[in-house]
Structures are given as C-alpha cells and as structure tokens.
C-alpha cells in the first residue's frame, strides 16, 4: 500500500536506527480453563501501521490488554522502544507512550470534546482548569494530525466517526506515540472508514506507530504495512500486504485446511417456516435500525445474513424473537406471531443462539443444568404443571453435555466456570435440544475451537436435513458461504443485496457488505 516502508525481511537491521516500537517475546497468558495467549512473539516497527488479525476468540483482545497494561502476562517480556517494561496498570502503559482506542468508546456524552479530552489529566492547578491551554493543545494536535476535531461541541451531538477521532486525540493528548486501535472499523460506515484510514496515514507520517486490530481482511490489506496473524492464542506469521491475498490471509487465520463448511446437497423444501414482511425496528429517536426487511426461510433452508457487525443484525434477530418491538409482520408456519410473546414464540419452536452469550444466553451464577432449562422452562422434559422436574432436566443436561462435547466435570458447576468455547457449545446444544422448527443463530461458532466448530456445523446440517429452517448471522464469511442455501447482505438495517453461495466469493461478499460492491452477485 505505502511505498516508503523498508522491505519486510531486513526491516530491523536495515533501519538500524530505531528499535521496535513494541516487541513481545514469549508472551503467555492463562485464564482458568483456557490459555488465551501462548508464546506470542510480535515486533512492531516504529512509524508503521501494524495489523493484528485473527478470528474472534483468537486472543487478539487479550494480547492488546497485555500491551496496554490491563492484563499481566504469566510469562514473557515486553519491550517498548528498546526498553524492557512491566505494566501494573494502563497508567504505566500511558506513561511510556502507549494509547488505546477501545472498540466501545469511553466518552462522557454530556461533556464537551475538550472536557472529555482533558478528563483525568487537566492542565492548570488542582482547583482550576486552564481551558485556554487545553484548547490550544487540542487544536494543535488536531491540526498536526489532520484529525479535524472541534473542541467545543458536546460529545452527544457527535457522530460515531467524530467520537472515534476524539478518542484518538485523547490518547495523543496524553503523549501516546504508539496507538492501539481495537476493531476501529466495526462501528463505522464506509466513508468513515476511509476518513479513519486517511487519519492513520497522517499519524504514520508524523512518526507514530499504530497497532490495528481487526478481523476484516480487506481493511487489513488496505491499511497495514505489516500484518501479524494470530490463531488460537499464538502468533502464526507476520506478512506484508504485498505478499498475500485475502484468501491466503484467511487460511492463515483459520489454519491451513480452511474448513469448508460445505453443505453437500440442497435440502430446501417449498414449505415456508418463517416469513418476515416489512419488518422495521426503530431506536428511541425513531431512527430505523432494521429498515423494511422482508424474506422467507423454508424448511430445510439456511438463510445467511452477511454484514458488518452493527448494521442491524442483532436488532433483526431480537425482533423475530419478540424481544424488541417492531413494525411489520413475522409469520411462523402460517401463524402470524407478530404480536405474540417471546415465550409463545419459543414454545412454537423458535430457538435462539444469541450474539452476546454472556448477556443473553447464560445465567453465569447458575449451575449448568439450570442454564439448559433456560428457554425451555415451559416444555415437557424440564417442567410439568408449573413445576420444574429437576431429575429430567438434569438428565437432559447430561445429554447435551455429551452430545455437544461440553468439557465440564459436572452439570452442577456454574456456567461462569466454563471456558467461552464450552459455554457456546452448551448454548448451541440447549437450543437444538428442543427440536426447534426455526433457529436464529448469531455467530454460532464464535470463540470455539476448530474441532468444535466442525461439530456444530455438523449438528446444524443434520437438523437442516430434518427440516430445520435457519437464519444464520455470522462474521465468518466462509461459514456463511459454506452453510447457507441463500445469502442476503445487510447494510445499515436494509437488505441490500442477494448472493448465491455456490458462486459468490468472500471478496465479493465483503465488498457488498461495505456497500462498495455491485448490487448483486450471481442469482437474484
């Protein structure tokens, strides 16, 4: 992408003048039940944009938290600009010039930009805020890096892209020379992504180092000078954008085989299970989060929804579940369930694998067997005549644990004791256990290992062959293409394109997701 960088092989020697901005050696971090990072080596050259990419759950976030001092590694060393450092908290990291922009912004809405930026490191005495000094610094930083940040408006009036630049400025204000951006594009629309990337070029030109975390291959290839791939907790390889295609990068991310979740023959029938008509979900301000969406899923069909996260997928699923109010019609097996409670929809055979398993999927402090009852409180093996049948519920849980290979010593441990992948397997098993007619699956294999992923795909395929209708939402394009019988693309709440999974490539789909691609691809 950029020309001025030294070639990959001799990078450290060639320059010779400056040590790596950040250098990690042998970093290992264990959490109860999982090893989040294992023997991670990473060397980030100063003045570059270095991307760290990997699947969800690969260990990117933990690694970033280690670099930013939010987690302490169990083993390994961290060097910043050639000096060995140990961080006890983020303030130690800030002190050596590391700044972080979190995926979810940490700004006070009712403060102005200026107030947010200086918060915690206010210029002036202990009883006086030197507004003029702050304004001067902010304007100076904003001009120097082309951030175009106005210090005076309230943050609540700013758009997402502006808020992100405020966060960047906040880090720079604290003297950051190394910026960590955690999934910065997840919340942005394409034009904002372009603006962000332009800003990153500016930062780089001024000699700053950017560590850019993403699982979006096209963006990584566009913006990074170097790309380090992380898989299952460890760094796999560091490459330059010139030497890899996005296909190769994807293979690095998921492992050599690139497990193709191919569904062999079509099992689609002509019996509609779910029909959604003109579904619209609005936020409190009346803005449409899901905008006039219509589709039909037949028995034995998997409909995949591709889209950048935050484009209305979660709201769409919530609306179909009856969790969120929506306009329009939801028809299940010929019955209009638009105004029916979530419980009735569940009893009618709708299963739900939520996107946020901790929030919507589990009772962390309850034992596993109660977690498996959750969502099936009213159905026969778990309860009868208003009473919970503990014996049968426990037997059902044992079955789920066995069938879905949930690694646990007992069904009486609390859900919080399981690793993320095992929690996910438990949820998938629970949702499939009631023989549902319709499954709403949001990222069904997120955070599970490759073997478990293949097993979950198998379960989904088998249920599909038996007539299950599936609405599949996934950030993993290969999963989407491999499992789906038909594909739609969602962008800013609207279904904007259709694609035939037999012919579409992840690249085309990625382009359509960002609104850049052609309207349709293949069948329409």
């Amino acid at each position: 992408m950029t020309a001025a960088q030294p070639p990959e092989a001799s990078a450290s020697e060639a320059a010779g003048t400056r040590p790596p901005a950040v250098r990690l050696q042998g970093i290992t971090k264990r959490f109860p039940g999982v090893v989040a990072n294992y023997d991670v080596d990473l060397s980030v050259e100063p003045g570059t944009v270095h991307a760290l990419c990997g699947e969800n759950g690969a260990g990117k976030s933990t690694l970033m938290k280690i670099i930013y001092g939010m987690q302490k590694p169990d083993e390994g060393t961290i060097e910043v600009e050639g000096k060995h450092v140990t961080f006890h908290s983020p303030s130690d990291a800030i002190a050596v010039g590391i700044g972080m922009v979190h995926q979810h912004f940490k700004l006070a809405d009712n403060f102005t930009v200026l107030e947010n930026v200086v918060l915690g490191s206010e210029p002036g005495g202990p009883f006086r805020l030197d507004v003029e000094a702050a304004r001067r610094r902010i304007t100076e930083i904003s001009d120097r890096y082309g951030l175009d940040v106005d210090p005076d408006p309230l943050v609540q009036h700013l758009g997402v892209g502006d808020r992100q630049r405020v966060e960047i400025l906040k880090a720079l204000y604290r003297g950051a020379r190394i910026l960590i951006l955690d999934e910065p594009t997840a919340v942005l629309v394409p034009q904002e992504v372009d603006e962000l990337f332009a800003a990153l070029e500016e930062l780089k030109a001024e000699g700053l180092t950017v560590l850019f975390i993403s699982h979006k291959l096209d963006e990584v290839l566009r913006v990074a000078d170097r790309i380090t791939v992380i898989r299952r907790g460890t760094t796999v390889r560091t490459v330059t954008p010139a030497e890899v295609s996005s296909r190769q990068l994807a293979e690095l991310m998921v492992g050599s085989e690139l497990p193709s979740p191919q569904t062999t023959e079509s099992t689609v029938t002509d019996r509609p299970v779910l029909t959604v008509e003109n579904l619209t979900v609005r936020d409190e301000d009346g803005r449409a989060l899901v905008d006039d969406v219509s589709f039909t899923i037949h028995a034995g069909e998997v409909l995949g929804i591709a889209g950048v996260e935050g484009n209305g997928q979660a709201e769409l699923v919530d609306a179909i579940m009856g969790i969120r109010k929506a306009e329009g019609r939801v028809v299940l097996d010929g019955d209009d369930v638009s105004h029916v409670s979530t419980r009735h929809r569940r009893e009618a055979g709708v299963a739900f694998i939520p996107e946020d398993r901790i929030r919507q999927g589990l009772l962390l402090e309850a034992p596993l067997w109660e977690n498996v009852v959750l969502g099936h409180q009213t159905s026969v093996p778990n309860s009868r005549a208003g009473l919970i049948d503990r014996r049968k519920a426990r037997a059902g849980t044992s079955q789920v644990v066995k069938d879905y290979d949930v690694r646990t010593p007992s069904i009486d441990v609390t859900a919080s004791a399981l690793s993320g992948g095992n929690q996910q397997k438990l949820i998938v098993g629970r949702e499939m256990s009631g023989n549902p007619r319709l499954l709403l699956a949001a990222h069904p294999t997120r955070g599970v290992d490759v073997g478990a992923q293949a097993a979950i795909w198998d379960h989904l395929r088998r249920a599909r062959a038996e007539g299950l209708a599936v609405l599949l939402i996934s950030a993993d394009l290969d999963e989407l293409i491999g499992l789906s019988d038909s594909l739609r693309v969602i962008l800013r709440g609207r279904l904007v394109a259709e694609a035939d999974p037999a012919t579409v490539t992840p690249e085309d789909l990625g382009a359509a997701m960002t609104g850049a691609g052609a309207r349709t691809e293949g069948a329409a």
């Binding site: 497990p259 979530t342 962390l364 959750l374 969502g375 409180q377 309860s383 919970i388 646990t408």
Partner: protein, 371 residues
C-alpha cells in the same frame, strides 16, 4: 457434587460467620474504649437470652422478623428492592385489625379473614410500586420508600379516635378483636409462644418450594441473575415484576400477624414499627435462603431481647445496635468477597479437573464431518 456438598455448605457459612465474628470483635473494641469488659457484657447477654421466658420472647420476635425478611428476600431474588415492607405490614395490620374487630365469626374463619385482609392490603400497597415501575419506569426503591410515608400517614389517620380507634388507658388503639380471632399459642415452661410461628415456618417452606421447585420461581431467579437472558428465554419481565411485588407485599402483610393475633389483639400506637427495615438486614444476613434467614431472624431476636440486661449491668445497650449495624455492613462485604473467591475457586477446580483428561479426549484436529 450435589447440593449437600460439604464444600458448598462450608462456603455458604463462611460469610455470615465472618461477619458475626467481625461484629463481636469491633463491638468489643467499642466496649473496651468505653471502659467495659466485653466478656462480662457478652456473658450476661448470653445468660439472660437463654432463660426460658426470654427464649420465648426471642422466638416470638423472630416469627415476625422471619416473615419480614422473606418478604424482602422475594424481591432480592429478582433484583427488586422492596424497601417498603415496613409501610406494607403496618397498613396491613391496621386494616386487618379494623376488619377483624368489625366482625365475629367462628375461630378459624375469623382468623382466615383477618389474615386474608392483611395479605391483600400488603400486596396492593406493594403492587402500587410494581405497577409504577412497569408502566412508568419509577424505581421501586424510591416508590416503596415514599409509600412508607404515605402508609404511615394513612395509619395515623385511621388511628384517630374519630375514625376507627378508641382511647383506652391513654393509648389510642383499634377495638379489641373477639377472642375467636386469637391465634392459639404454644405453651412452654417459659410462657406462650405465638402459634403463628408455625405459619411463619410454613411460609418459609412455601418460599423454598416456590423459588426452587416451580417454573415461576425459576423465572424469578433467572430474571434476578440476568434480565436480558431471562427475556431471551421468554420471561415476561414486566409481569414478573408485578407478580413478585404482589407476592412480596402479600408476605409483608403477614409480618404484623403474630403480634396482632397472638398478643396485642388490636392495633395501637404501641404496635411495633420498623420490622420492615429489620427484615432487610435479616434477609441480607440470611442470604435470602429460607434456613439462613431463619437463623438470622433468631439471632436478631436474641440481640433485641438480651440487650435489656445490659442496662442493669451499667453497660449502654446501644452497643447491640452498633453490633447489628456492623453485622449488616460486614456481611455485605463478606458475601461479595466469598462470592468472588468461590467463582475463582470453581474455575480453577474445573480447569484442574479438565487438565488431565482434556488432552487425550480432544481429537479436535480430526476433520470429523467436514465436507
């Protein structure tokens, strides 16, 4: 690994024991500073509290405390803070006393009517807070506190001689209940224990059954642990809020019944107040568990009764109030400490137990079923 796992029970006892010990240590320090020997104070309290007639007093006090704590606990299990038990039980007892005095019925029916009135009044009073929360988004903490004041005012109004009360021996009280409404007591060597204590115990049993064994209880606990997860599982949270406030208020309505039916037989200015707030402390100490709350109620009754001896020993009995305060404060801290420790310990244990068999039993590289 069942619920009777000794490790589990041990862990459940750690926090209240820690809190109690902390309270004893700190109040000893206070006693020493004030120039009293803590051992004398605690020994005389113990000796006094274990005399038969005082033990009866303790049980009688704890009968109402237990109900009050259960009423609070129902809310707690759902993350609802019913601070209004105090107003609910006083208004309920007042109305029940008025209705009970106005009619004469055969014994069991008379008692049943009075209890029913109390339950309904308590439920309605708490239900107002539930409805406000569901339909208007008013925090139940605020509304129940406000309803306490309104309840107090209504009770004061009803207790004026022109309305429902009469003046007797310089005390304003409602007319005395007919003896058919007197709940038979249990005679012991130390005196008569309120018969209503049996009802209290049955309510405790009902609480345990409802929460642990029924679908309603499951929904209630699920909502308390994670509202979004409960919603996704099909729980109608609004309905649950109203239902559990009604239930909590209904139980709160019973709080005054042991005294009304067992001793006072009327509602007067001297009818005990503040039991609703005591219930909050007891529910916290007993960890919303029917048995734990039972012990906590008895402990509270013991402290309330046995402190009377201290004045005779020349020790200010307010030391017990300090102790009660420390217990509540310490128990909240201790439960949080123990909770975190338990989560960590369990995660470590699960990881350790899986550490062995995990490696051989995970042929996760085999591309089983792919393609």
């Amino acid at each position: 690994m069942s619920r009777l796992d000794p490790r589990r029970i041990g862990a459940a006892l750690v926090a209240p024991v820690m809190a109690f010990v902390t309270a004893i240590v700190l109040s000893s320090v206070v006693l020493l500073i004030a120039g009293h020997a803590p051992t004398t104070a605690f020994r005389s309290m113990f000796d006094f509290g274990t005399q038969p007639d005082n033990m009866v007093n303790i049980l009688n006090k704890s009968a109402g405390y237990y109900l009050s704590a259960l009423a609070v606990a129902i809310g707690f299990r759902m993350n609802l803070f019913n601070i209004g038990v105090d107003g609910q039980y006083r208004l309920a007892a007042m109305c029940a006393a008025v209705v009970g005095a106005a009619v004469t019925l055969p014994g069991p029916l008379h008692i049943a009517l009075i209890v029913l009135v109390a339950v309904v009044v308590g439920a309605v009073w708490a239900g107002i807070a539930g409805a406000l929360k569901v339909y208007r988004g008013v925090s139940e903490v605020i509304s129940t506190i406000m309803l306490n004041y309104i309840g107090t005012a209504i009770v004061a109004f009803m207790l004026t001689p022109q309305v429902f009360a009469e003046l007797e021996n310089n005390i304003v009280k409602t007319p005395e209940l007919d003896s058919s409404a007197w709940f038979p007591g249990i005679t012991t060597s130390g005196g008569e224990v309120y018969g209503f204590i049996v009802v209290s115990a049955l309510v405790g049993l009902g609480y345990w059954f409802l929460l642990g064994r029924t679908r309603f209880g499951f929904d209630l606990r699920a909502t308390g642990m994670s509202e979004p997860a409960a919603v996704a599982s099909g729980v109608d949270v609004k309905r649950m809020v109203v239902a559990s406030m009604l239930l909590s208020g209904g139980v709160a309505g019973l709080v005054g019944m042991p005294i009304l039916l067992g001793a006072s037989h009327s509602y007067g200015q001297d009818f005990p107040s503040g039991m609703g707030f005591t219930g909050i402390a007891i529910a916290l100490l007993g960890r919303n568990h029917p048995i734990g709350v039972g012990f906590a109620a008895i402990l509270w009754g013991f402290l309330d009764v046995s402190n009377q001896i201290l004045d005779l020993e020349g020790i200010p009995k307010e030391i017990v109030t300090i102790m009660q305060g420390i217990i509540v404060l310490a128990v909240v801290v201790a439960y949080e400490v123990v909770r975190r420790w338990r989560i960590n310990a369990e995660q470590r244990r699960v990881a350790a137990q899986l550490g062995g068999p995990q490696a051989p039993s995970s042929p996760s590289t085999s591309p089983a079923g792919v393609a």
